[in-house]
């Protein structure tokens, strides 16, 4: 009997546990297994195997039951996820439906989630910009949030490490605000985008318009072919899952790579309840999991634990990991856990038209678009708001047909559309300031279907965000006008926080254990064998897309953790 118990513990003991299989969890799995650690990856959702579990990926429009449109019942049942641009008939199966995992909106927050192996890495918009020191120095400069414990130089080699493997398209632009990376060939500009870029270069010293950097394989290297991935085929239906592995996802890249080492155990349907803290040992010893199928509570053990449940769920897991030593959540002596959550402000946009280059058009499709790195408050504080914003930009021509009347003439007209003029557009991506008052916490009474406390979300815009929206609109109006674009319309869609799907913070990195949860290695100040390397760890949000930074921080943290294990420090 005693032997049986020992065997049972052995069978559930690994070198490392990774909570979550999304973009950062996949990287943790790859790096840990490559370094020889027997690694258990816990995923709360179902398995999604590359290619075979992408049921809509090869469907033509006419082969989809509603030709892409979602049934009324689905839309009515999902007022939150239904707002997401990527939620449609071809992709709905990769999104969490509103009723599946309830949460409390103390303030309106559109929480978009993907509970399956691969998480939201199947669904992301694939923009991969490096953060610069202007991003890492933001809090130190203006005193909001705490200083990042790292600078660009600390993470630069790890950006290179993950970029080479993931496959990032981009152009070396030599910008201080947006460091260059290890790039595959860049995507092409169209005539009007190129023209706008040239106009801005002529008019402004500091507003370069560049081609976006994105996780698409434009020219496969041996490392990509070894992963079984091929060149991006420009289908631009990425959110259905890509049978070519043309864009980076955990499913196409890191997880199969980790599996090849023979060290990976992937356990879907495993909802993490909490992390087990052993007070005698003074460290975490494992993870409590509720099997989503049997509803049974199971424990798994490991020497180190990586928490990669996606920003807000990572907060939920840590807050729910209580013990005598940590009554307010794991590693939460400072009381900041769940606080200083922030996101990206995507509220504003501009659209217009251009009547030049009518002799030119585009051919094929491009899964990427030009990008305007932050140009506000870069070298000095020059506006009445803090930090800044980046912007997406693109131009395209749409064919339109005359749809008057009916009969044979209408049919002829539909078959002979005329090419419209150029449409131009941009949207903002603004940095929001992490504040104590923007937080997540456990609801005291409401539970989710697994008996785990529901997450209460209280995250709002502030005056700084409103000012930034106004400035973006004014600056883009000026820039579009300077380029000769016409019929300009600015918008502020007043979307709820969350719909940006860039929520960050709550378990932030920092130098001081009194004001942060993690040190400069993404290691918990007070529980040394627990690492948090997803969006929860972010001290501030920057004006760049965050996923590439999660990948780099994860690889860097694994490297550190394994070295510490070898030194017997963990």
């Amino acid at each position: 009997m005693a032997n049986f118990a020992i065997d049972a513990v052995k069978a559930t003991t690994y070198d490392a546990i990774v909570i979550g299989s999304g973009i950062s969890g996949g990287w943790a799995a790859k790096e840990l297994t490559e370094k020889g650690l027997r690694t258990l990856v816990l995923e709360r959702g179902r398995d999604v195997k590359h290619v075979v579990d992408y049921p809509t990926t090869m469907l033509n429009t006419w082969e989809m039951e509603h030709r892409g449109q979602l049934p009324l019942g689905i839309r009515k049942e999902n007022p939150i996820v239904g707002k997401c641009y990527a939620f449609h008939e071809g992709s709905a199966h990769f999104f969490v439906k509103d009723a599946e995992h309830p949460y409390v909106q103390e303030k309106p927050f559109d929480w978009i989630r993907g509970y399956q192996v691969g998480g939201k890495s199947l669904l992301w918009a694939r923009q991969t910009q490096r953060w610069s020191d202007f991003d890492f120095q933001g809090p130190a400069r203006d005193g909001f949030a705490v200083d990042w414990p790292i600078r660009y130089a600390d993470i630069a080699p790890w950006y290179s490490h993950v970029e080479k493997f993931a496959g990032i398209t981009g152009n070396k632009d030599g910008l201080a605000t947006l460091p260059d990376g290890e790039f595959l060939p860049p995507h092409e500009w169209n005539c009007v985008e190129k023209y706008f870029s040239q106009q801005m270069a002529a008019k402004y010293k500091d507003r370069p318009v560049i081609m976006g950097r994105a996780a698409h394989i434009t020219k496969p290297q041996p490392i990509h072919l070894q992963q079984g991935r091929a060149q991006c085929q420009h289908r631009t239906i990425c959110e259905r899952g890509c049978p070519f592995g043309g864009y980076f996802s955990s499913n196409a890249s890191t997880l199969p790579w980790a599996a090849k080492t023979g060290k990976l155990t992937l356990r879907p349907h495993s909802v993490v309840h909490s992390i087990i803290y052993d007070e005698k040992k003074g460290k975490a010893t494992g993870v409590r999991v509720i099997d989503a199928t049997t509803k049974e509570m199971i424990e798994f053990y490991a020497r180190i634990i990586f928490v990669n449940a996606a920003a807000l769920n990572t907060n939920l897991v840590l807050l729910n990991s209580t013990s005598n030593r940590f009554p307010n959540g794991l590693g939460n002596d400072s009381g900041v856990l769940g606080k200083y959550a922030a996101f990206h402000n995507y509220r504003a946009g501009i659209s217009g038209e251009y009547d030049g280059y009518l002799e030119s058009t585009t051919e094929g499709r491009r899964p990427n678009s030009p990008y305007i790195p932050r140009f506000r408050n870069v070298h000095k504080q020059e506006t009445d708001f803090l930090r800044g914003y980046a912007a997406g930009f693109s131009a395209n021509r749409i064919s339109r047909s005359n749809q008057e009347g009916f009969g044979a003439d209408l049919k002829t007209n539909l078959a002979n559309p005329t090419l419209g003029g150029w449409s131009v557009g941009s949207h903002m991506m603004g940095e929001t300031i992490p504040k104590e008052s923007n937080y997540v916490a456990l609801d005291k009474t409401l539970k989710d279907p697994f008996g785990i406390p529901q997450l209460k979300v209280s995250i709002v815009y502030d005056d700084n965000d409103d000012k930034m929206v106004k400035d973006y609109q004014e600056q883009m109006m000026e820039m579009f006008t300077a380029a000769g674009f016409k019929n300009l319309r600015v918008r502020d869609d007043k979307r709820n926080p969350g719909l940006d799907i860039h929520e960050m913070g709550g378990a932030r990195m920092g130098k001081d254990p009194k004001t942060s949860i993690l040190n400069k290695w993404n290691q918990m100040h007070h529980v040394k064998n627990v690492f948090v390397t997803d969006g929860a760890s972010m001290t501030s949000t920057s004006t760049q897309n965050p996923s590439l930074t999660y990948m780099a921080l994860t690889a860097r943290a694994v490297d550190y953790a394994v070295k510490e294990m070898k030194k017997m420090n963990l």
Binding site: P55, L72, I74, C191, F244, G364, L414, A415
Partner: protein
């Protein structure tokens, strides 16, 4: 090597479709009537003639042969408010009634010119419901036609896998590119 891998991937993907797991069809839930046709056979036949009158067979197939009337019923049933079903049913009754009143014949047995006259009258009706019906059916006929296999393959030449993006190509050259090249 690359190509072979890609083809292999495609084969696996198509294989995956055959055994589409239950969750992928989760939205066809029992609380939604998802039958292709909620109209009585006669109304279904009237709708088929209506869509055919909007987009008739010429040297290429018309809306009826492309099953656009079935598509419309599917979308109206699954994707629209119940009032849309009502509007469609009543509108088709109005079409039939007008055919009987004007020509003493059912709509289906009118000649093409007569059918067009009936629809023209409905489209210009002072009755907001009849007008609304026509604009609903016409919009959905265009959508069903444009998203049909025949039209996407043979008329608009949609490319599922373009494999390229060229930013600046001359407009003229694009329009004169032979179909065989566009389809590759």
């Amino acid at each position: 090597m690359e190509r072979r891998k890609a083809l292999k991937s495609l084969a696996v993907a198509v294989g995956g479709l055959v055994s589409m797991p239950a969750w992928a069809n989760g939205w066809n839930s029992a609380n939604l009537p998802s039958g292709a046709s909620f109209l009585a056979p006669r109304a279904d036949a009237v709708l088929a003639e209506v869509v055919e009158t909007i987009l008739p067979a010429t040297d290429t197939p018309g809306a009826k042969a492309l099953g656009v009337h079935t598509f419309i019923q599917k979308i109206v049933t699954d994707c629209m408010e119940p009032s849309a079903q009502d509007s469609l049913t009543k509108g088709l009754m109005a079409v039939e009634a007008l055919a009987q009143k004007t020509y003493s014949k059912s709509f289906a047995s009118l000649d093409a010119g007569q059918k067009a006259e009936v629809l023209k009258t409905i489209s210009q009706s002072s009755d907001a419901d009849e007008k609304g019906f026509f604009s609903l059916v016409k919009g959905m006929t265009i959508r069903g036609y444009m998203t049909s296999e025949y039209v996407m393959n043979n008329i608009t030449h949609y490319e599922m896998v373009p494999g390229r993006y060229h930013g600046c190509v001359p407009v003229v050259a694009k329009n004169t590119t032979p179909k065989t090249q566009q389809n590759k």
